[in-house]
């Protein structure tokens, strides 16, 4: 027979039981904790440094990236791209990146989209500059958290990779990235993104875009090596990151970042 006392007792017990996470039953293994500590001491953490003063918008980085990483050349998707920002003396901001600047910027006309262009006269320009964009390889990558199948992950050296055989193409990560660096690969139909040319950096080479840049606007470094020239610049000079307020801890640092850049 159900008494009031028993009913209340069972309800409280049941609710408490349901509220307990499974993690509470996990036995903490000191070896596992040690392993996590050790992993944190991985000797490499890849970071990227972009000097926007040096960028002239030639787009050779985009061309090299698309060829190196087998991104269909004429498809309007790319792992890295260059944005042009033009601020007029009237305070109007214009920005474009035709084809991701695959062919550079060879006109003064700004692409407004939908076949519209606007030409800004030299006298009307207050400031104008180029900003290369690529994956920020965030320390807290929101794109990885949302993957329902474990197809995208962060390597011990900080690069976020996509497992093409495991990706189901749901697109959560593409929506989850606040920087818009992810897209669908037109051939593999899976999520695609910049991985700092993981096949090159793990062989001691530099990413294709870094090698292709004639002006040294793009550099890669290891933030865990205090003698790395890129680390020294990041530690001692004025560098900015994109969308700091999201708490993603992006690892692509910019010299000469302007408030117009989003």
């Amino acid at each position: 027979m159900i008494t009031r006392r028993n009913f209340l007792k069972n309800t409280v017990l049941g609710l408490t039981g349901m509220a307990l996470p499974f993690a509470a039953f996990e036995i903490i293994d000191p070896k596992k904790l040690m392993a996590q500590e050790a992993a944190d001491k991985s000797a490499v953490r890849w970071v990227f440094l972009v000097d926007t003063y040096k960028c002239v918008g030639c787009g050779l980085c985009v061309k090299a990236c698309k060829t190196e990483n087998e991104i269909p050349y004429d498809a309007n998707v790319t792992r890295t791209w260059v944005e042009r920002y033009v601020l007029t003396k009237q305070g109007k901001l214009l920005a474009d990146t035709p084809k991701g600047a695959r062919d550079g910027f060879t006109t003064t006309k700004i692409d407004l989209g939908q076949g519209n262009f606007q030409d800004i006269k030299k006298e009307d320009i207050e400031k104008a500059f180029f900003v290369p964009k690529l994956c920020n390889q965030c320390e807290n990558p929101p794109c990885v958290q949302v993957c329902p199948v474990g197809a995208t992950y962060q390597t011990p050296d900080g690069v976020v990779l996509v497992d093409r055989t495991w990706c189901i193409g749901c697109g959560y990560c593409i929506m989850g990235c606040p920087y818009g660096v992810r897209f669908f690969h037109p051939v593999y139909q899976t999520a695609e993104k910049c991985n700092f040319c993981y096949h090159r950096i793990t062989k001691g080479m530099k990413p294709a875009c870094v090698d292709a840049c004639p002006f040294g606007a793009r550099r890669i470094g290891n933030i865990k090596d205090p003698h790395d020239p890129v680390t020294k610049i990041i530690m001692t000079q004025r560098v900015g990151i994109l969308k700091e307020e999201y708490g993603t801890k992006p690892q692509v640092f910019y010299i000469g970042l302007s408030k117009e850049v989003k």
Partner: protein, 156 residues
């Protein structure tokens, strides 16, 4: 086992066991939590190797240097030394084995990537010499007159 509750419970348990059995077969053995924990490190470990084994295409100018030392030393004494060979000649991949010949991009558009003048005061682009492609010998390849390996030398 007379209780009517147990029969559907057995069915549910059967389904759970079946799913776990399929999972054991389907999920690769190396699938698991990586160094960054469950939230960031849940993946198939062999995929890291897959990406490391991706084919390198751009080899860098050091790869060209030995066989094409004449061209290499020539361009290295000019302002164009900052441009990689492969930016114009295309990726070497396994040249000379494969491909035996590289396709050179001699288009005007290629030169205009830098040499189309954009008067942007806060960018280094405005410091590069440019031409108006509509007025400066349209329909001609730049390399017909200018040697890209030595742009400062007299016109061809």
């Amino acid at each position: 086992m007379k209780n009517h509750v147990y029969k559907p419970l057995l069915v549910v348990l059967g389904v759970v066991v079946l799913i776990l059995a399929i999972r054991m077969v389907y999920v690769p053995k190396d699938f698991g939590v990586g160094d960054r924990g469950y939230m960031y490190g849940w993946h198939r470990h062999a995929n890291e190797e897959d990406w490391k084994n991706f084919k390198v295409k751009y080899q860098g100018r050091e790869y060209c240097k030995d066989c094409h030392s004449d061209k290499y030393s020539k361009i290295m004494s000019t302002p164009h030394k900052i441009i990689q060979c492969e930016n114009c000649h295309g990726p070497a991949i396994d040249h000379p084995a494969d491909p035996p010949k590289l396709v050179i991009d001699k288009s005007r558009a290629h030169c205009l990537r830098c040499h189309f003048p954009l008067p942007y005061p806060s960018s280094n682009r405005s410091k590069i010499k440019g031409i108006d492609p509509q007025k400066h010998n349209p329909d001609m390849e730049c390399s017909a007159c200018h040697n890209p390996h030595n742009p400062m030398e007299g016109l061809r």
